[in-house]
Symmetry: C3
Subunit: 141 residues, 3 copies
């Protein structure tokens, strides 16, 4: 995990191993919060890609993320009247459905996530080496 | 509405009464902004669940939120080759489609919403008692 | 581009020319960041409508945004058992799928976007004259 562009804008890499996959990155985000020394505030996670997104969901049963990937692949099928010649339009569309950033509260130095929540990088056009930007910010009261 | 985890991270409950439903929570969010005494800044609303989400949409005609629920149920049908044994994968998938947080500007102590906009809690696996975290933050200029 | 409701909450107009369309607004958002004189922080873009949204995606090949619009129109068809009498329920539903705001980091006075990323206004019920609110915020470290 390295720092880039501004003191506390951190960037880490995610290596994905399948065409479509959800990868739990919660611990990397939590580590970025720790490095930023933010105890009370918010944390924003941003994916600088156009065929990958970011979401939050259950990280207890891995079948949940598999079902999400399966259904996104059904909703946006690989075959279709796509014009984009690179052939990865379904990945672009799925990314716009999950979104490219998530905002999570930070309290007592920890991400304020629900019992079952984890933060997932959504690979829709892998396998690739990807980047995730994270910034934790203090909130003044 | 009580305070928790940090001075101005507020949490309120939403009791849902159907399997899938959109519930207008705008007034509770506005009340949280008032309690935080933020006149100019941003307000972030976060749902700490994995089978419920949050969205913004029209709150004038209740048929709009019924149509949203109806269509989400069509796009992600209850029956499917889901692996998650708990049987609520469709709810997890719909939540990743709406998202788990919304960010709204605050000016003169009020949420800066469009004429027809309301903030909706999206229940996808109810009925249940749910939580919503809200934090209003001053912006320094 | 004018200022409104708070010193640095800026608003600009987007005139759309089709029923459904994605319009690249990156340069207007970057201009708002410049006017706000924020060199290091975050920028939030918010659409105060209920039948339009905002997303990030590829702005190199225009076929990508055409494919996104085409597929959203397939996923949420114009004909359906919609109850909302105004007849634009599909637009409300698509807007809840893309979302109403985006958050982008700012470093050295520039939006921190990936190589292929642009910020797009999503018109789902045009043609109309629309508004976009933008606020760039310094982050104190």
């Amino acid at each position: 995990m390295g720092k880039s562009k501004g003191d506390m804008l951190q960037t880490f890499e995610v290596k994905t191993s399948a065409k479509t996959d959800l990868i739990d990155i919660t611990r990397f985000v939590q580590e970025a919060v720790r490095k930023a020394k933010v105890t009370d505030g918010i944390c924003i996670i941003f994916v600088p890609h156009t065929t990958a997104g970011i979401t939050i969901n259950e990280n207890a049963d891995p079948a949940v993320s598999r079902d999400i990937v399966m259904m996104f692949n059904k909703i946006v099928p690989n075959q279709g009247p796509y014009q984009h010649l690179e052939g990865n339009s379904p990945a672009h569309i799925k990314a716009s459905m999950t979104g490219f950033s998530q905002t999570v509260f930070v309290a007592s130095g920890k991400l304020v996530l629900g019992t079952w929540q984890g933060i997932f990088f959504c690979e829709f056009d892998g396998p690739r080496s990807r980047k995730v930007h994270v910034r934790a910010m203090k909130v003044e009261e």
